[in-house]
Amino acid sequence: MKEKVLVIIPAFNEATSIVAVISAIKQEYPSFDLLVVNDGSADETGKLAERTKLAFVINLPYNMGIGASVQTGFKFAKKYNYQIALQFDGDGQHMIEEISKIIKPIIAGEADCVIGSRFIQKAQTYQPSSFRLMGIYVLRLFSYIFVRQRIADQTSGFRAYNRKAIEFLSAHYPVDFPEPELIILLGKNGFKMKEVFTQMRERQGGVSSIPTWKGPYYITKVLLSMMMAALRSKKINN
């Protein structure tokens, strides 16, 4: 493969797992470049990642949130001319073997953005609680109303993007809880999205960025952002 591929790994206090993730990806995909975006971790995440010498490491000056971290990755990808960028969360949920699956449609030119989805096949390893399932259905409905594209897994952070999307996202990227809003933003701006079934594990360590008690706040905030994203004019000028 001649395309320059960047794997963006947002990391916040993941000192226990980051080294293993980096070396595992590098072993499986030696031609890919890795970028760890250390989001102001209080632990040694950044130092440990740098010491492996296998990845580029960006240490953000303070905790900026997942959206800003991933966007930093896109800015990096734009600056250094990567043709493909993918987001890979370092908490053990995403599986390294599935990376090739989500970049395949990008290389084939079938889509601008590929979403690794937990939900489009019956056999799935991930079983959300009923509370979360409700949220998932609401998000799906909203997203379908706004962009008329059926995306089953709105909140998956396992995604790959082509150069066109990289350039767009380095300038426009939602903050706080970006994944569902991103689908609308991309849909509204004429990007082609494709979902691919990927296995995902229960998280190995760390805590969810959305604890259960924050659920209602999350849903409200996300629905508001989605509605606003839908209300904005279709084309954002770069």
Binding site: L60, A68, T72, K75, F76, K79
Partner: protein
């Protein structure tokens, strides 16, 4: 007629105006953020002095006690100013985010260059 409220309103809004002008003079308040304050304090002064004007407004909007109209204007002014603040905060948090990201990117590039430089230095030292 009891005009204590009018005296308080005049004293209050005039001292507010003076206070704001002092802040601008000392460069503690930037001009661009003071425009709304100056505008509304002037409006307060106008209506606390010109009581007929206040009565005229009260008549239009149906407020029985004219000084209450002053409070209505006051609350409206506070709303507008606070919305302006929210706008400024949002704009600044966007800037701060971009600055933080750029610092991260620049530090990474600097480390990369420094490593290359060290390597080059070592090379020349070995040769000599």
């Amino acid at each position: 007629m009891d005009n204590r409220i009018q005296i308080i309103a005049i004293a209050g809004s005039v001292s507010l105006l003076i206070f704001i002008i002092i802040l601008i003079r000392q460069h503690r308040l930037k001009e661009e953020y003071s425009i709304l304050w100056l505008f509304f304090t002037s409006v307060f002064i106008l209506f606390s002095v010109w009581r007929n004007g206040l009565e005229w407004i009260s008549d239009i909007v149906g407020v029985a006690y004219p000084p209450a109209a002053l409070f209505m204007i006051l609350i409206m002014a506070l709303f507008i100013i606070m919305i302006e603040f929210s706008l400024i905060i949002s704009k600044q948090s966007f800037w701060i985010k971009s600055i933080g990201q750029d610092i991260g990117l620049m530090k990474q590039e600097m480390n990369e260059l420094r490593a290359k430089l060290d390597l080059a230095k070592k090379d020349t030292e070995e040769k000599s």
